[in-house]
Every structure is written in C-alpha cells, then in structure tokens.
C-alpha cells in the first residue's frame, strides 16, 4: 500500500492538461489540474503535491512567478517546467531559480517518465536520509534491553523472530519493565528500521485529543484547527506506530482504531479523503486486558487484532539475576554522561538491591542508580547511597489511607536522613515547623 505520488499539472491549454493527466493516470499517480498560475497558488494553500508540472508560458501569472510563489508555500515540492521550443532560455533560468528540470513540449514519453521517476527516487532518498540521521542520534540515548535471565533470553529470541515480519505485536508487562524499548528493538530489527518509529502514549491524552493525535485533522474541523495536521498514523507511514497504554483508551476510540486496523485507511477529523497507510502496529499495556474484556471495558475483537503476537515482559522481582547486570549498565551509562569515574557497588549495597521488591521495575532501578551516583561521594556505591536503609529494606505493605501513607512516608524520609529535621523537611518540601507538627500529630518516634 504505497502512498501514491501526487502530481499537479498547471497549463492553460486543456488538451495538454488532459492528455498528460490521462497518461500519468495509467501509471497510478494521483493527479490534480490547474488552468492558471493563480489557481495553482491558491490550491497549494490547501493541498500538497510531490511534483508540480508547470507550464512556463501562461497568460496572467507566468511559470516563473508561479514557481516562486509555490516554492514559498511548499518548499519541498519539486517543480518540472514545461516549455515550447522558443522559450528554452527561460527554462534554463527556471532551473537556476529552483526548478528540478524542464521538458520540451511535446514530451518524449521516455523523458517524462525518467524525470518523474528521478524526482520520486530523489524525494525518497532525502526522506530516508533525514530519518536515518534521526535514528543514529536517537540510538545513543537508548541502551539495548539487558538481561541474562532465561525469561529475557526468550524475549530476545522472540524479538528477533517477529521483528522482520509485519505482524502486529502486543507487549504486556508492569510499568517500568521497558515495553517501549522492546517496541523499539522490534522496529530497529525490521525492514522498516530506516522509516519512522512513532510512539503515542494513549493513556496520557483525553479522548478527543487522542483521536486528533492519531488521525490528524483538516483545517476548520473544529474551533482551533487553524491548519491541517497530520496524525501519528500518517507520520508513521512505512514505519512502526507504537501505541502505549492501549488498555486505557475509551470504547469509542477503540472502535475507530479497530476500523483503521481492519481497513488500513482512515479519514482525518473533518476530512473527506480516505488516507492509506502502511504502518506496523506495536501496542503495549500494563493492564490485564482479559479482565478488561470480561468487564466490557475493552473490545475483544480489538484485542484479537492487536494480540497477533504477544510478548510478556516479567517484572524485575521475577528475574533478580538480571539486577546486577542492569545496575552495571546503568552505572556505565550515567558515569559516562556525568563525566565521572565508573563506580563499583559494595557487597552490602548489592544485597540490598537483590532483596528489594522493585515495584517500579527496571525504571525504578535506573532512577535509584542515577540518584546514588549523584548523592554518593565515595568511589563505590554503598548502602548509604540507596534510599532503602537497613530499617526499611523489607518494606511493610503500603497503607491505603492517605493519612497513614503520609505517616509512613515521613517516617521513611526521617530515617533516610538519620532524623536530621532540616534535610528531611527539605526532601518533603515543607518547612521544619510543619514537619515537627506532623511528627507530633502522627506520634512518630525515632527507632533504635
């Protein structure tokens, strides 16, 4: 489902316009016509073309002026000048002013065909270069997914097998397990790797915004839509669209999404034209979708569309053998970033890391390592640098009530700061008096 190359033909002679249109239609291009420069310029405000074939000599606004105006509105559109024999000098001038090339009327079929194919290839190359550069820049930001546990080895194996296919993948796992990294690995190992990887956090946006984000909108589709905007589906064309927090979308948006997945085409909000896209979908959720289906909060037909291949990332507490490897990788990355010597972890600190439950998974481990490197002063990471001190290394189950939660939290911060009131108050973001009041109110006592 390649997107059609869109061509605008501008010529005052009907026979020329029509015959070129017929001929290009046979090649499956999408064609629009304008009979004068003024019309072309007006149309360019509304619509975008890959190529404009422009007659040099027209009554009213001539080819050169039209080209200048068009280039202002749509600098990325390539222009092919057409000219009769007598005006070749001007055509050469047109090239100097930015036309891709010129063709002499009547065209040699061979020549038009070659010129158009040249532009199409050229545009693809430019696009691919932009994307390639972005990807290289991004790469340094993401370490690979790390793990030597059997469960992670299985995931690596699965990624390498499914990546080259175009299958839809559903990634499940608790928050912080690295679902987006897996999605990126799938994209990076697929034939789409030089095309865009576009991520949407479906849980972060309200319904109405999510739809316009996914499908885009036309100018005037609603108040505030001052220009036409491409949605994420269009931006991800030929690449991968990562739909994060898919379990959080409303039933209404689920219907829209299902329709796109089935038909691979959609309309922008307020738009008439059907837009075809070639997009691979990778979705992720930390919710139990089967429960959601039972509770009628998630459509089962959408679930089956998405869950063609499922990858479940286990929580960190179920693969504790990966903690050391992950910690080392994070230390390496952050020391490099902060321009510090690499640090080792003391055996005691290692034990604390091993025994902790990691409700926030890999992301929590990463945050804790980063924090330890910032606050730690020695050449090693010790248990002092870790937020879970000796006293709280086995955390009691968290209370449900907000008040109790506040009490437990204050106790924890006080203990982390060895009951230094000033520092604890600072960490809590309150003043010392307020902290004292709360200690009294909750009857918090120093243990020992």
């Amino acid at each position: 489902m390649n997107k059609k190359t869109r061509i605008l033909i501008v010529d005052d002679e009907t026979a020329i316009r029509e015959s070129l249109k017929d001929w290009l239609l046979e090649d499956g291009y999408s064609i629009d016509l304008a009979s004068c420069g003024e019309d072309a310029v007006a149309m360019a405000g509304e619509k975008n073309w890959d190529i404009i074939v422009l007659d040099l000599k027209m009554p009213g606004m001539d080819g050169l002026e039209t080209m200048e105006r068009l280039k202002e509105i749509r600098p990325e559109t390539e222009i092919l000048m057409m000219t009769a024999f007598a005006t070749i000098d001007t055509a050469v001038k047109a090239i100097k002013q930015g036309a891709f090339d010129y063709l002499v009327k009547p065209f040699d079929p061979d020549e038009v065909d070659m010129q158009i194919k040249k532009i199409v290839t050229h545009k693809q190359l430019v696009m691919e270069n932009i994307l390639l550069r972005q990807q290289l820049e991004d790469k340094s930001r993401y370490d690979e997914i790390i793990g030597r546990s059997d469960s992670m080895q299985e995931i690596f194996d699965l990624i390498s097998r499914v990546a080259p296919t175009d299958s839809t993948v559903l990634i499940t796992g608790e928050s912080g397990t690295g679902k987006e990294l897996v999605a990126q690995a799938i994209h990076g190992n697929s034939r789409r790797c030089y095309m865009p990887f576009i991520a949407v956090n479906c849980g972060a946006l309200p319904d109405s915004l999510l739809e316009s984000e996914l499908f885009g909108y036309e100018k005037g589709a609603f108040t505030g839509a001052e220009y036409t905007k491409k949605g994420r589906f269009e931006l991800a064309d030929k690449g991968t669209l990562f739909l994060d927090e898919i379990g959080d979308i409303s039933l209404k948006t689920q219907v829209e999404l299902l329709r796109v997945l089935q038909q691979r085409e959609f309309r922008r909000l307020g738009g008439q034209d059907l837009i075809n896209v070639d997009v691979r979908i990778v979705a992720a959720t930390n919710r139990n979708l089967q429960n959601a289906i039972r509770e009628k909060r998630f459509r089962d037909d959408l679930y089956y569309r998405l869950n063609v291949i499922s990858i479940h990332i286990p929580p960190l507490r179920d693969r504790k053998e990966d903690i050391e490897l992950l910690s080392e990788a994070f230390i390496r990355r952050y020391c490099l970033e902060m321009n510090k010597e690499e640090r080792k972890i003391t055996p005691n600190a290692k034990k604390l890391l091993q025994d902790y439950d990691w409700p926030g998974n890999v992301r929590e481990l990463e945050n804790i390592i980063e924090r330890a490197l910032v606050i730690g002063r020695g050449d090693k990471i010790t248990e002092e640098d870790l937020p879970f001190s000796k006293k709280t290394d086995t955390l009691p189950p968290l209370p449900k009530s907000l008040k109790l939660m506040e009490k437990v939290h204050i106790e924890r911060v006080l203990s982390e700061n060895d009951w230094n009131i000033s520092r604890s108050a600072q960490d809590l973001g309150i003043d010392r008096q307020t902290l004292y009041n709360k200690i009294e109110k909750y009857n918090i006592q120093k243990e020992d």
């Binding site: 001929w23 046979e26 009547p106």
Partner: protein, 187 residues
C-alpha cells in the same frame, strides 16, 4: 486456456486504414486464449479530418477516441480499434495506443510496431507479438487496470518499444486476478 466464456463479447475494427483480415483474426484468437472473451470483427470505421494534425503529421488519438464514443454505440463489452496511423496525444511525441480507463474504447496503432520503423529487418513474429502485447495492455486499461511494476507483465508501462519486447504477452498473476475482478464487476 480459461474456461469461463463471457456472455458478452468484444468488437475489433480497423480504424481509418485498411488492416489485413489475417491480422485481425490472429487477434481474435489471441484475446480468446488470454482472457476467455469472444471477439467479433466489424467493418472499418472512417475518422474525420480534424483528427489529423498536419503540423505533426500524426493523428490525435484522443480525438479519435472522442469521435468513436460519440458516433458508435457498440452492443459489446469493449471496442478495440486497430490502425496503421501514427498516433499522438498533445503532450507526447507518440503513443502506441490509448484507452479510456474503465471505459469501452481502445485504439492501437501498428505504426511503431513494425521492425522496419526502427530500421530493423522485417520479422513477422516479432511484429505479431508486439501487436498482441499492445492490444492486451490497452484492453487491461479498458478493464480498469493501471500499470504494473513487474517488467515481464503485459501491464508494465511501454515507454519504448524495448519495454514491449522485454515483457510477456500475458498478465502477471496479480494483474490477472485484478483483470478477473474487474471483468466480473463490469456488466
């Protein structure tokens, strides 16, 4: 080759010039073999003078199609005109043929299919095969097909005669499926 024989048929007629009966009969057989469609040969159609462009010394294929559309009302599925005249459209130096995409009429010029046009020695087999490919190609357009990316497929765009010589005188499997689909949806 194809079992389903259409209830409808195709008309083949010479346009503006005499065409040997043997050539037309050859095309009838060929189309039946490739598409399972019956063809009938009809009498030569004369074309008006204005189709002739004296400056270019060629015939405007679009004007000929327009004339056919307004003056003949065939009770057939499709109408294929065959001519010896050299055809053009206003924007191009020449065309091998022209069709209304999804329409009734097509016209094919034999003028640039003869090896002699390219100063090559006469070769009847080569000429016949070029004619077959060009006809099937235009018929494909008349049934709504656009060009194919497969160089061997008859729906590959023939920009030079060399393109015609490289391709085969049949649809690739995809184009054949599309052809059948369009054929069933043209009533």
């Amino acid at each position: 080759m194809i079992s389903s024989i259409s209830s409808n048929h195709i008309i083949i007629a010479p346009i503006g010039s005499f065409i040997k009966d043997s050539i037309l009969k050859q095309l009838v057989e060929f189309i039946y073999d490739r598409c399972g469609l019956d063809c009938r040969i009809e009498a030569k159609v004369e074309i008006p003078d204005y189709c002739h462009n004296k400056i270019r010394g060629q015939y405007d294929s679009k004007e000929i199609l327009k004339y056919l559309i307004s003056h003949s009302h065939p009770k057939s599925l499709k109408f294929i005109g065959i001519t010896e005249l050299d055809l053009f459209v206003p924007i191009l130096k020449y065309v091998f043929g022209l069709s209304q995409i999804n329409g009734t009429f097509s016209i094919i010029s034999l003028h640039r299919l003869y090896p002699g046009f390219y100063n090559d020695p006469p070769n009847p087999n080569l000429f016949f095969s070029r004619m077959q490919k060009t006809t099937l190609h235009e018929l494909g357009h008349a049934f709504g097909l656009t060009h194919c990316r497969e160089k061997k497929c008859v729906m590959y765009s023939s920009i030079r005669i060399a393109d015609t010589d490289i391709k085969e005188s049949s649809f690739c499997s995809t184009c054949f499926e599309l052809f059948k689909w369009h054929r069933e949806n043209t009533k």
